[in-house]
C-alpha cells in the first residue's frame, strides 16, 4: 500500500515537471496555432544556459531563473518574428518543416558546442530528501510541483484578467476578428511565443537540478509534452495540467508494473488512441486536431 502511495506521489510530482513544459507548448499552439516541434530544444537550450550559469558563475539553477527566462523569451520571440511570422498563412506542412528545421539546427548546434557528454550540476538545495510518514521525496521535485501549480494559476489569471491575456484568447478563436477589434496580431503572436518559451525557461532551471543535461534531452521531454497536450486538448491550459498529472502517474505506475523500458509504449499508445478516437482531447477542451 505504501509502495502504491509512493508511486502515486512520484507520478504527481513528475507531472508537475511535465506541466510547466506543456503549458508553454499549449499556449503557443492555442494562440499562434503552430505546433512547435522545437519546443524540446528550447528546454535543452534553457538547461544548458542554467548549467553554464552554475558551472561558470556558481549560480544555483533557481537563482538563474531570471537569466534563463529572459534568454528563452528572446529566443522564442525571435523565432516567431523571423521565422514563423512569414509562414502564418503557409500550408501546415511548411510550418511543421520550419519548426522541425529549427529543432534539428539547435540540437546539432548543442552537439557542436558542448559535445555529447552528459553534464550535471551539484547543489545541496533542491536535492534534500524529505519524508512524510513512509513517503519520501526529493525537495526539488516538490518545489517543481508547487511552481507548476503557481505558474498554471498565474497563467489562468493572466489569460482571463489582463488585456494581453484576452487578446491571446481572442486571437486563438479568430485571427481576423481579433485584428478587427484592434489586436496587433503580429506583436501579440511574438509576445505569446516569447511567453511560451519563457515558461520552458522556468522548467529548464527546475529540471537542471534533477536531470542531466545533454543535447537530446529535449526530445525525451517534448514527446511526452506532445502526448500531454493532445491528451488534454491542444490549446487548453487546464487540459495541459490535468494531462501532465495523468501522464506522470502513468509514467510512475507503468514504469513499476509494466517495466521501465515499456512505460513510454504505454503512454504513446494512449496518445495514439486519443488522437484517433477523440482528437479534441480527453476533456473536450481546445480545438480538434482534424
Amino acid at each position: 500500500m505504501s509502495l502504491l502511495l509512493q508511486l502515486v506521489a512520484n507520478g504527481l510530482l513528475l507531472g508537475g515537471a511535465f506541466a510547466i513544459i506543456s503549458i508553454g507548448l499549449t499556449l503557443i499552439f492555442g494562440v499562434v496555432r503552430v505546433v512547435n516541434f522545437a519546443h524540446g530544444e528550447f528546454l535543452m537550450v534553457g538547461m544548458y544556459v542554467a548549467w553554464l550559469c552554475a558551472s561558470r558563475l556558481g549560480l544555483h539553477p533557481y537563482a538563474a531563473v531570471p537569466i534563463v527566462v529572459v534568454f528563452l523569451f528572446v529566443m522564442g520571440a525571435a523565432m516567431q518574428r523571423y521565422v514563423i511570422q512569414s509562414l502564418l498563412s503557409a500550408d501546415a506542412h511548411i510550418q511543421v518543416f520550419a519548426t522541425v528545421g529549427i529543432s534539428t539546427a539547435l540540437l546539432n548546434l548543442a552537439l557542436l558546442m558542448f559535445g555529447a557528454d552528459i553534464r550535471k550540476v551539484e547543489f545541496a538545495f533542491g536535492n534534500q530528501n524529505l519524508s512524510i510518514g513512509s513517503l519520501t521525496f526529493v525537495s526539488g521535485q516538490v518545489i517543481t510541483f508547487v511552481v507548476a501549480i503557481v505558474v498554471a494559476f498565474a497563467m489562468h489569471f493572466y489569460l482571463t484578467r489582463t488585456y494581453t491575456g484576452r487578446a491571446f484568447r481572442a486571437l486563438a478563436q479568430n485571427r481576423t476578428a481579433a485584428a478587427l477589434m484592434g489586436v496587433d496580431v503580429n506583436k501579440t503572436y511574438v509576445f505569446a511565443f516569447g511567453i511560451g518559451a519563457a515558461l520552458v525557461g522556468i522548467a529548464s532551471c527546475l529540471l537542471t537540478l534533477q536531470y542531466p543535461v545533454f543535447p537530446t534531452v529535449g526530445t525525451y521531454f517534448v514527446l511526452t509534452a506532445f502526448v500531454i497536450v493532445v491528451l488534454g486538448g491542444m490549446g487548453s491550459l487546464p487540459g495541459a495540467v490535468i494531462g501532465s498529472m495523468f501522464i506522470g502517474l502513468i509514467d510512475s505506475l507503468a514504469g513499476f508494473y509494466v517495466g521501465p523500458d515499456l512505460k513510454e509504449v504505454v503512454y504513446f499508445v494512449i496518445f495514439l488512441v486519443i488522437l484517433i478516437v477523440r482528437p479534441t482531447g480527453l476533456f473536450g477542451l481546445g480545438r480538434g486536431s482534424e
Partner: protein, 596 residues
C-alpha cells in the same frame, strides 16, 4: 510506360541519371562512390516518402518505421535462417505493408502536424518494442550482418557494385513514382490532397486512395531499408528507427519540391553531399556539423523557396529543356475530341431521383423536416427558399455529404434499378453530379486536369477520359481555357469549371448549388443557356438558386423550402403568386400592407 528517350525531357533525365552512376565510378574514389551510394539510397527513400508526403499531402515524420522493418527483416533472416536478402527483403515488404495498413487507416483523418505527431508516436513505439524484444531483435545493441560476400548476400568487396545495386533500386522507385504521377491514381491523390470534398463529389474514395499511397510508399521504403542495412552491415534500433532519419528523408523531398517526380532526387543530390562534406571539413569542431547544416538549410528553404527547387525553378528549366531538339515529334498524335453524345430520352418524364421524408437534426434544430421531392428525367427542378431555410442541408443529403436521420434518397440507374447510395462517392458513382456553393476547384491543376479527374470515373484509359473532358469543355465554353491553371480563372470561369467537372463524371442527375450567384449579368445569361443545353443533352437538373428571375425562367417546376419543410411545390407561375411563399420571403407584414 518507359519515357521515350527521343524526347528532350526524357533524354535530359536519362543523361542526368547516367551521370549520377558513371561519374562517381569514373573517379574511382571510394569516398565519392560511397557518397553516390548514399545519394541513391536517400533519393530513393525521399521519392518513396514523396508518394505519401507529396502526392497525398500527409506529412509523415515516422517513415523510418518502414526503413527499420526492411533492415531488420533482411538482417534477421540472413542471420538466423541464412535466407538471402534478395528474398528476405520481400518479407520486410510484407510486414511493412501490413504495418502501413494498421497505421494508415486510423490516422487518415488527422491533418497536418497531428498526422506528423501520430507518425512520430508510431515510430517511437516501434523503436521501444524492438529494444524490448531482445530475444529475437538483439535489442538496443543492434545486430551485425554476417559478412558473406557475393551477389546472393547483397554484400560486395567493391564499392562500385553497391552503387550499381543502389542505382537499380533508385530506378525502380523512380519508375513507380513517375507511373503514379501520370496515372489516374496519381491524379486522385492530388485531388484528395487539394480538396477532399470535391474529390468525393467526383466519385473518388479518399480512404482507399490514401491507404494505397501509404502502402506503396511503405513497401518501397522497406526495400531500400533492406539494401541499406546490408550496405552498412550493422543495424541498430536507435539509427534504423530514428526520428532524425525520418526528418532527413522528408527534408530532401521538400527541398527538391514536394509532389514532383524529380524533386526528391534533386533535393538529395544537392543537399546530401554538402552536409557530408561539411562533416568531413568541420569534423574538428565535433559531431553535429551535418545535422546543423541540415537544420539551417531546411529553415532557409522553408523561408525563401517553400515550393522547393523544382517548384521554384522547374518551369524555367523545363522551358529551356523543351527547346532542345525533339526526335520524337513526328510520331506524336493529337487526340480528337468526341462529339457530344446525345442520350436516349425514351424514359423522359419518369422519376429519376426520389427523396422520401428525409429528416436531419443538428442538436435541437430540425434542419430538414420530412422533406419529400421527386426529380423527373429531363426536367429542371428549382429549389428556392429564404436564407437559412435548409436548402443546402437538403442538397448535402442528396449527394451523400450528410446522412439523413430518417427517410431515404434513391436514384434510378440507366438500367432502371433503384439504389440508395450511402457516401458522396457512392452518389457520384450512381450518377449524381454536384457543384459546391463555394467553388472548390483543384486550384493547382489546369482546367483540363480538373475535368480529367471527373472524367476518369466512367472511362477506361487516359485518352478516353481526355476526349470526354474536351467535349465537356466544349459544352461549358471552357475550351480556350483548357491549359489555364484553375486558380487564375475568373469567378464566372470557376463556376463554369465547377459545373463542367461535375458533368465530366457523366451524371444522369446534376445538382447545382447557387451557380448563378455572384455572376455578372452577361455571365448569368450565358449560364442560363448552358444549363438548358445540359438538360437537352439528357441530364436532369436540380438547382438551388437565389436569383429569382433566372430560376423562374429556367425551371420546369419549383419546390419552396421554408424552415426545413417543403412549403410549396408547383409550376413557376403558381409558386411566384402563392401567398405563403411571399410571406416566407417577406414576412406577414408585407401581405398585410398589400391588403390594406
Amino acid at each position: 510506360m518507359i519515357p521515350n528517350p527521343l524526347q528532350p525531357r526524357a533524354y535530359v533525365a536519362y543523361l542526368a541519371l547516367a551521370a549520377l552512376l558513371l561519374l562517381p565510378i569514373a573517379t574511382q574514389s571510394p569516398f565519392v562512390i560511397h557518397l553516390a551510394i548514399q545519394v541513391c539510397v536517400f533519393a530513393a527513400l525521399a521519392s518513396a516518402w514523396n508518394i505519401v508526403g507529396g502526392f497525398a499531402g500527409q506529412l509523415s515524420l515516422g517513415h523510418a518505421v518502414y526503413y527499420g522493418i526492411g533492415s531488420y527483416a533482411a538482417g534477421l533472416l540472413v542471420l538466423h535462417f541464412g535466407i538471402s536478402p534478395w528474398v528476405g527483403m520481400f518479407a520486410g515488404v510484407g510486414v511493412s505493408a501490413l504495418v502501413a495498413l494498421v497505421i494508415a487507416y486510423p490516422t487518415l483523418r488527422l491533418r497536418g502536424p497531428f498526422f506528423s505527431l501520430a507518425s512520430i508516436a508510431f515510430l517511437e513505439v516501434a523503436r521501444l518494442l524492438v529494444n524490448h524484444e531482445e530475444a529475437w531483435t538483439h535489442g538496443a545493441g543492434g545486430l551485425n550482418v554476417p559478412l558473406q560476400i557475393g551477389l546472393k548476400w547483397m554484400i560486395f568487396r567493391e564499392k562500385w557494385a553497391y552503387l550499381l545495386v543502389a542505382f537499380g533500386f533508385l530506378m525502380v522507385v523512380l519508375w513507380i513514382c513517375r507511373a503514379i504521377r501520370h496515372s489516374r491514381f496519381g491524379y486522385y491523390l492530388i485531388a484528395v490532397r487539394e480538396r477532399e470534398d470535391a474529390a468525393r463529389a467526383i466519385g473518388i474514395n479518399p480512404v482507399r486512395v490514401k491507404i494505397a499511397a501509404a502502402v506503396i510508399s511503405a513497401c518501397l521504403t522497406s526495400l531500400i531499408g533492406s539494401f541499406h542495412g546490408m550496405y552498412l552491415t550493422f543495424i541498430e534500433p536507435s539509427s534504423a528507427f530514428s526520428l532524425e532519419l525520418s526528418i532527413q528523408i522528408a527534408m530532401f523531398a521538400l527541398i527538391g519540391g514536394l509532389g514532383t517526380v524529380a524533386g526528391p532526387v534533386l533535393g538529395t543530390v544537392v543537399v546530401l553531399p554538402i552536409a557530408e562534406l561539411a562533416r568531413g571539413w568541420l569534423s574538428a569542431f565535433g559531431n553535429g556539423t551535418h545535422g546543423f547544416v541540415y537544420g539551417v538549410v531546411l529553415v532557409a528553404v522553408v523561408l525563401f523557396f517553400p515550393r522547393g527547387l523544382v517548384g521554384q525553378l522547374g518551369g524555367r528549366v523545363t522551358q529551356w529543356i523543351d527547346k532542345l531538339p525533339d526526335f520524337a515529334r513526328a510520331r506524336r498524335v493529337t487526340v480528337a475530341s468526341l462529339p457530344t453524345a446525345v442520350r436516349a430520352t425514351a424514359s423522359a418524364g419518369e422519376p429519376i431521383l426520389k427523396v422520401d421524408k428525409i429528416e436531419k437534426r443538428f442538436g435541437g434544430l430540425k434542419a430538414t423536416d420530412k422533406v419529400s421531392l421527386t426529380l423527373h428525367e429531363g426536367e429542371i427542378l428549382g429549389v428556392i427558399g429564404p436564407n437559412g431555410a435548409g436548402k443546402t442541408t437538403v442538397f448535402n443529403q442528396l449527394s451523400g455529404f450528410l446522412r439523413p436521420d430518417g427517410g431515404t434518397v434513391t436514384i434510378r440507374d440507366a438500367a432502371g434499378h433503384w439504389s440508395a447510395p450511402r457516401s458522396p462517392e457512392g452518389f457520384a458513382r450512381a450518377g449524381v453530379g454536384r457543384t459546391f456553393q463555394i467553388v472548390q476547384p483543384f486550384a493547382g491543376l489546369t482546367v483540363l486536369e480538373n475535368l480529367l479527374l471527373g472524367a476518369f470515373m466512367r472511362t477506361k484509359g487516359r485518352d478516353e477520359a481526355e476526349a470526354l473532358a474536351r467535349s465537356v469543355a466544349e459544352l461549358t465554353e471552357l475550351t480556350p481555357l483548357l491549359d489555364t491553371e484553375a486558380r487564375s480563372l475568373t469567378v464566372g470561369g470557376m463556376k463554369r469549371l465547377e459545373i463542367a467537372r461535375a458533368l465530366a463524371t457523366s451524371p444522369r442527375v446534376l445538382l447545382l448549388d447557387e451557380v448563378l450567384a455572384g455572376l455578372n449579368p452577361a455571365d448569368v445569361a450565358r449560364a442560363i443557356v448552358m444549363i438548358r443545353r445540359i438538360r437537352d443533352s439528357g441530364v436532369s437538373v436540380l438547382m438551388i438558386e437565389h436569383l429569382m428571375q433566372a430560376t423562374m425562367a429556367l425551371s420546369d417546376r419549383i419546390v419552396v423550402i421554408h424552415l426545413g419543410k417543403v412549403l410549396k411545390e408547383g409550376l413557376p407561375a403558381e409558386v411566384a403568386n402563392d401567398v405563403e411563399v411571399i410571406q416566407a420571403y417577406l414576412g406577414k407584414g408585407y401581405t398585410h400592407a398589400q391588403g390594406s
